[in-house]
Symmetry: C2
Subunit: 309 residues, 2 copies
């Protein structure tokens, strides 16, 4: 799957992932009204609104990008109906040929991490059957519990040829509280980055390993160091756009040939219709606004890729 992701990003010349984080206040009022009309102001109504919103977004962008990244929290907050909408989104994205990166940030130990890994990337044993439950292609994982938490994911990745992205340096303002703390003069995120590279060594695809890293766009100097520390690691970069990261900051995340990074935007794409720049589309044509914003983002990101300069 890592080979397919890298190949598809190269083919499209678009190292971009769109985050499907359907916050209620992003969803256009006509979509919510129709869903509430059918299901009432219930969890089922919210889930229907999310699903219809996502479907339109996917229909408008699936040919431009390699991958979508649904943020499971935005579905999980609506309980079981919300998670059904999550699963429908994963399946529909697959139908349209997209790779799916589940932003689940799970992380536990031993058999518990193994349960998350089989539930999201692999197949769970039920009697004599093996059944895929959520069936994403990649997921994000939290490293705080160490190798015990990561190894079960890597095992499933090797079996299923899928992948993970481990949080190394996150894009938020307080990420430094623990991640930047110095250990023998080097920040914790570097130590985590080294582990990520090591975990990936025996789980290699053609160019990049099955074990990727998350490094926020908001810390380009750190991105530069981590790029060198993890040469075979695909870096998922959140924080572009709405969180303040600019294309000009992104060059250090790429390798020379323009691969090695995948840049995420969520709000900037899926709620593009709310921006003045895309106001001409109006609330009704939010899908077209998302398409135009994706095209614009890809063009902007290309200016940061070393092979395009």
């Amino acid at each position: 799957m890592i080979n397919r992701l890298v190949a598809r990003m190269r083919e499209l010349n678009a190292p971009v992932v769109v985050g499907l984080d359907p916050m209620m206040n992003y969803i256009p009022s006509q979509v919510k009204a129709a869903a509430f009309e059918q299901y009432g102001e219930t969890l089922e109504g919210a889930a229907e609104a999310i699903w219809q919103y996502n479907k339109t977004l996917i229909d408008n962008i699936y040919d431009l990008i390699a991958c979508v990244k649904p943020q499971v929290a935005m579905y999980e907050q609506f309980g079981i109906p919300g998670l059904i909408a999550y699963k429908k989104t994963v399946d529909y994205a697959h139908e349209k040929g997209l790779i799916v990166l589940g932003d689940i940030k799970r992380g536990d130990i031993g058999s518990t991490s193994a349960a998350y890994a089989v539930g999201h990337l692999g197949k769970v044993q039920v009697g004599s059957q093996k059944i895929a439950a959520f069936d994403e292609d990649f997921v994000t994982v939290n490293p705080y519990l160490g190798t015990d938490g990561i190894k079960p994911f890597v095992d499933v990745c090797k079996e299923e040829k899928k992948g993970i992205f481990v949080l190394v340096k996150t894009s938020n303002p307080s990420s430094g509280e623990f991640q930047d703390q110095l250990i023998d003069g080097r920040p914790l995120y570097e130590l985590v980055g080294e582990k990520v590279a090591a975990w990936g060594e025996d789980a290699m695809g053609d160019e990049y390993s099955y074990v990727g890293a998350v490094v926020g766009a908001t810390y380009p100097e750190m991105g530069k160091v981590l790029r060198k520390l993890m040469p075979k690691t695909l870096i998922l970069v959140p924080g572009y756009g709405a969180q303040g990261g600019k294309a000009s900051d992104l060059a250090p995340y790429f390798n020379e040939d323009g691969t090695g990074a995948i840049i995420n935007s969520s709000r900037g794409i899926i709620a593009a219709y709310k921006q003045e720049k895309y106001a001409q589309f109006g609330e009704e044509r939010y899908g077209e606004a998302a398409r135009q914003a994706t095209i614009d983002m890809i063009e902007d990101i290309r200016t940061a890729m070393p092979n395009n300069q």
Copy 2:
């Protein structure tokens, strides 16, 4: 809820939580057979087995303890049907008067952490309605992303009078890889512990704050330091029993009056019927075996409580 939890543990003289981690190989064969008979070897069949198993366990232990801790990964691996069984377990435990600690180890930033918080502890806004989705009383949270990740949980806790337990020092062998790294001569887990105490300061119950900590039973020396560092923090202690932690190691986790810690056992209780000690119950009477194992555990833990010595 923290007041209720502390009061109930004191009333029962039992600072014990039973982990409902229904691994398929813990579930007695007759329970699985009945479920597969009805639903086939499907996710629904697995979920039915889990639900029946949990129901019997809860029926046998609800009067002995204050709290149960379902581990969501063990449900999530069975997809939507598994999560329905999780929710049924939460609701049934509530019906029987138990406090529910969802072991979800979520952690993200800003609006995403807020989504987890409202989905699990609070009420989510749907149009003009506010609806509780999973509705646990406490959940576990991962601190790697710093204050941005924790604050949204604390806000919901204050609103709902619920609580969280933040991972500080986990019980697994590789927990030291990052958690024990020295920062200015002190391990990272101490820094996290100090933050836990600080986050709890403006979210206080009568004796303990809404912000608890997870500290593994397998590291009693560290437990001692952390107990002092976080005097108003309830410590959730995993790792007793199956993971190697002994009652004699537990004294440092308690305050003088015998409060301040809640000790978890999962496999040791719910799969007690598999132990030689409880073999007389047989596979059929697994609920009674769990009850006896709970009684024995409480007695064992009491030997570690300063007020009982």
